[in-house]
């Protein structure tokens, strides 16, 4: 793997952020970002499953027949989720009460199946591992950011709106618009600079 490929894969979690750019895995993002603790713990569980499933699927990519690759991926992911479910329910019972229902739903999180389909099924183990780590960190960061904003707003304006589903939709929508605008400005600057260099003005 060359240096530029490494850089591209490792930055994938930011440049193609699963939540704000690819808009995948919306359900747990909105449902469990009502406070920071739920957000971080669900993010970490999802990231763990994502990294492991990327590695395992990449190891098995020559064994799995192409015709049944989707069911095979889903079985791998479901087994990993069951493992996480067992660990959380036996070692962290309080966490299990607050996010337990959503741990089982990691199975159907589109980020994991999406990365398996788009990356791990076609690449070697090390790049897939890096991709899993990068995407996992990207997901944890975005859901934590959303959780922090919603918890702050709940603390400021009282509970009943920002900790409910409706608040989740609206805060996520506004933050996505903000990031769109920032991406747009960054791109405009880059274009402007490229045009200046072309004309020979530093």
């Amino acid at each position: 793997m060359t240096r530029s490929e490494f850089k591209k894969t490792a930055l994938g979690g930011i440049t193609s952020n699963p939540v704000f750019v690819l808009v995948l895995g919306m359900c747990p993002t909105i449902a469990k970002s009502d406070n920071v603790i739920n957000a971080v713990s669900l993010g970490l569980c999802t990231a763990a499953v994502l990294i492991l499933s990327n590695v395992i699927i990449s190891l098995l990519r020559k064994v799995i027949p192409d015709k049944v690759h989707l069911p095979a991926y889903i079985i791998v992911i479901a087994s990993l989720v069951t493992l996480v479910q067992m660990i959380v329910s036996s070692f962290l019972p309080t966490l299990n009460d607050s996010i337990g229902a959503f741990i089982s739903l990691i199975t159907v999180n589109c980020i994991i199946l999406g990365r398996a389909e788009a990356f791990a099924g076609k690449n070697k183990v090390l790049p897939s591992f890096i991709d899993g780590v990068s995407m996992g960190i990207g997901f944890v960061l975005s859901i934590t950011l959303l959780g922090a904003v919603r918890q702050g707003l709940t603390a400021a304006f009282g509970s009943g709106f920002f900790d409910k589903t409706m608040g989740g939709f609206i805060v996520l929508g506004l933050m996505m618009a903000l990031f769109n605008q920032i991406f747009h400005i960054v791109k405009q600057r880059q274009k402007h600079r490229a045009a200046l260099i072309e004309r020979g003005e530093p």
Binding site: A101, S104, L105, F169, M176, A177
Partner: protein
């Protein structure tokens, strides 16, 4: 009589007060993805209703008569996802034969019903609540209809929205999310309804 009242409250709560999308935030991907045209929203809603109702019943039977008896309840996630994936495959084959136009308009989202968390979420919650078979069936149907209602309303709004000039950063998903948030506020008004 009490049983009947219980069924009515399950139906009302599945369709309105505890709407799967707008109140429990499950099934958001197809809610945002297939809500651009009313016609495909209706088709998608009915397909999801079918999958949710049948899969929650099959999962209930599987859990009660196999997993619970053999004491291997921890395998439920794997077993349920297999049931859902095969049902979606079945629906795929049937729709391709019966209604090619609907099949075309649903496109990739039909296969994605497998990864719709509303389906697995309903199967899990039915087991967790310990309902009987008829209650499970009614829960599945009403949650599916609730999803369909939300999807059709959203599609109606987005068809109108496409005609307006939306500020550039909001084009696409952000405006859809804000719209969904305002719809969720409206649905929150149903939470006063109670039959018990």
């Amino acid at each position: 009589m009490d049983y009947f009242v219980g069924i009515v409250s399950i139906v009302i709560s599945g369709m309105l007060t505890n709407n799967i999308v707008l109140n429990q935030s499950l099934g958001i991907c197809p809610f945002l993805g297939v809500s651009k045209k009313t016609q495909s929203a209706v088709g998608m809603g009915l397909a999801v209703t079918f999958v949710i109702s049948v899969s929650s019943c099959v999962c209930w039977l599987l859990y009660t008569f196999v997993l619970d008896l053999l004491d291997i309840g921890y395998l439920s996630t794997i077993a349920f996802i297999l049931v859902i994936a095969s049902l979606v495959q079945l629906l795929d084959i049937v729709l391709k034969k019966l209604s090619p136009s609907l099949y075309g308009s649903l496109g990739v989202y039909l296969a994605l019903i497998t990864t719709n968390c509303a389906v697995l979420g309903t199967a899990n919650s039915v087991i967790a609540q310990g309902l009987d078979f008829f209650q499970t069936l009614m829960t599945g149907v009403s949650i599916g209809l609730g999803f369909t209602i939300a999807l059709i309303l959203m599609a109606g709004i987005r068809e109108k929205q496409a005609l307006y000039d939306i500020p550039r950063p909001f084009v696409g998903f952000p405006i859809a999310l804000v719209t969904a948030g305002i719809m969720a506020m409206a649905f929150y008004g149903f939470s006063g309804l109670s039959f018990t």
